[in-house]
């Protein structure tokens, strides 16, 4: 019976979430879109960075690629094809970045991804200024907010299922081994470079699609909007708060932090990034492996203490 409980709960949650736009007002749907977006981003980030410990700071690079592809192609292609193209562009960039950095020590990957968003932003700006002569584009797509919500929900569900499958499959085992000791991994027959590249590509395509699906919300897009580094930052904080090693970690991190950020940006628009930074530093210091791990460890410690007390009482 307990075996079937998690899938049933999962299915119920997905159905419940699907029905929300039928009751909620437009603010509720907007909030839902933001939350689903970040849940998906954090889960996709954790899918690669959690087990491999390669910290990617390039979330917004892929997010922006998705958004910009939609902005450029929305008038010349049918919508589903635009999404596919966006995913393909994200995949291409991910493969180039992955092939050139994933064989090296993790720190090179971090540095490379750190500047990647800025690089792509400048290249897009250069292209727009020199080739099209305009900076900034309008997106007129007949997609309703509810439509965006449902698309994101589908993507979030797919991401969750992929993460769950990876955790149980050979791929997940390979990633755990790689995270523990790359030398042993190679000597067990694991092709480390290919494994990392595959996962980085999957994670990047999901992130690109989040950007592509959310793009119509903006109506007007320019490089500074699409490649806003805060998005990378938020994704990272959410995944770390929940714990990047667990299936539900990013979800549990994203929901409360998204609400906190909404509140902060409404009440402290000017001090937003300072507070964000401080929250983030606090998380790194206090909960280095996420809330779930923290709770679990303390629960164990607490129970152990209880057990130790027992014989003392008996004596």
């Amino acid at each position: 019976m307990t075996r079937f409980l998690p899938p049933i709960l999962f299915l119920a949650a997905v159905i419940g979430l699907t029905c929300i736009p039928l009751f909620a007002d437009s603010y509720g749907v907007t909030l839902g879109i933001g939350m689903l977006g970040y849940v998906t981003l954090a889960s996709a980030w954790a899918l690669f960075s959690g087990p491999t410990r390669y910290v990617s700071l390039a979330t917004v690079a892929f997010f922006g690629i998705g958004a910009y592809t939609v902005a450029v192609l929305s008038e010349s292609m049918p919508y589903p094809l635009v999404l596919v193209t966006a995913g393909a562009v994200g995949l291409g960039v991910a493969i180039v970045v992955g092939l050139s950095t994933l064989r090296l020590a993790g720190v090179y990957f971090v540095i490379f991804t750190f500047g990647l968003a800025e690089l792509i932003r400048q290249l897009v700006t250069w292209y727009e200024v020199n080739m099209t002569g305009t900076l900034g584009r309008y997106i007129f797509l007949p997609v309703t907010p509810e439509g965006i919500y449902w698309q994101l929900l589908a993507l979030a569900t797919a991401t969750f299922i992929i993460s769950w499958w990876v955790g149980r499959s050979r791929v997940g085992m390979a990633l755990k081994v790689i995270g523990d000791d790359e030398v042993v991994a190679a000597h067990c027959g694991i092709n480390i470079a290919r494994m990392k590249l595959a996962l980085f590509a999957v994670s990047s395509v999901i992130i690109t699609l989040v950007g592509a699906i959310q793009a119509p919300r903006w109506t007007y897009v320019e490089p500074t909007i699409a490649f806003n580094p805060t998005i990378s930052f938020l994704t990272l904080i959410m995944a770390l708060l929940g714990g990047a090693h667990r299936l539900t970690g990013p979800l549990l991190g994203a929901v409360p932090l998204f609400l906190l950020f909404e509140w902060l940006s409404a009440h402290f628009p000017n001090h937003y990034s300072i507070i964000l930074g401080l929250v983030f530093i606090a998380i790194v210091f206090v909960l280095p492996r996420g809330v779930l791990a923290f709770v679990e460890e303390n629960w164990k410690r607490w129970r152990r203490r209880e057990i130790k007390k027992l014989p003392a009482v008996a004596e």
């Binding site: 050979r170 523990d180 000791d181 000597h187 027959g189």
Partner: protein, 242 residues
């Protein structure tokens, strides 16, 4: 094909230091060969080159007539070479059973799921560790970690097993168990190349020894004769004892 492993003119340089200098030897199927030499003589470097952990500067390594030098470790594993490490390397975030499953899942047999778990238990049983399968690997004692590492190496179904000081750091009782364990692996027809300092173990297990000093091979032959060799004694103990 008379030899399983054939090493020709193998050389490794680190910058100006020549750690292994034009070493050649071979190992026949079913043989247990000791690779000896004082500290820093290049034994572990030879092992590292066979397993693909380090690329060779020059020379050739062949397994069953097929060149394996130049391949990545994961490819060499699939050709049939597995190893243990000088400083034992467990996978601390996995359980003992999962440590072995990792090798089964990606090794030559690609086992997964129930089949892999059953096989892992059997492998752990061979090294006397089946009762600890569900424990976390980092909770194991030193000797048990070594056993686990051996089980993991055996799970890769090697034609050639490389042991890097697998017996080092064991107390006499554990040593006797360890020797018995290696002997049982040998009886099943495995070919073993072992780097070792424990002379008793070498005499008990190895029919033949290759001795290195300062990166060169200085002796190669039946164990008793090799250990009595004048140059070998000098390398280990200095001129006065020779």
């Amino acid at each position: 094909m008379s030899e399983l492993l054939k090493i020709e003119e193998l050389t490794k340089r680190f910058g100006g230091l020549t750690a292994v200098n034009s070493v050649s030897f071979s190992v026949a199927p079913g043989e247990v060969v000791g690779l000896l030499g004082p500290n820093g003589s290049g034994k572990t470097t030879v092992l590292n080159m066979i397993s693909g952990h380090l690329p060779a500067t020059s020379g050739r390594i062949a397994l069953g007539g097929q060149t394996i030098s130049g391949l990545a470790p994961n490819q060499i594993v699939l050709k049939g070479v597995s190893r243990t490490f000088q400083l034992v390397r467990g996978l601390p975030s996995l359980t003992v059973g999962e440590n072995v499953v990792a090798a089964l899942a990606f090794g030559r047999r690609k086992l997964w799921g129930k089949a892999a778990q059953a096989e892992a238990l059997q492998r752990l049983d061979e090294v006397g560790l089946a009762h600890r399968a569900d424990q976390s690997a980092q909770e194991l004692t030193y000797i048990d970690q070594k056993r686990m590492e051996l089980a993991r190496a055996l799970a890769l179904e090697p034609e050639l097993l490389l042991l890097d000081e697998w017996l080092a750091g064991l107390n006499p009782t554990e040593m006797a168990t360890g020797i018995e364990l290696i002997r049982s692996i040998q009886r099943r027809g495995a070919t073993i190349l072992m780097v070792e300092h424990m002379m008793d173990a070498i005499r008990a297990l190895c029919s033949r020894c290759v001795v290195m000093n300062a990166g060169r091979k200085i002796a190669d032959g039946p164990t008793a004769a090799t250990l009595a060799d004048r140059e070998v004694v000098t390398a280990y103990l200095g001129e006065a004892y020779a």
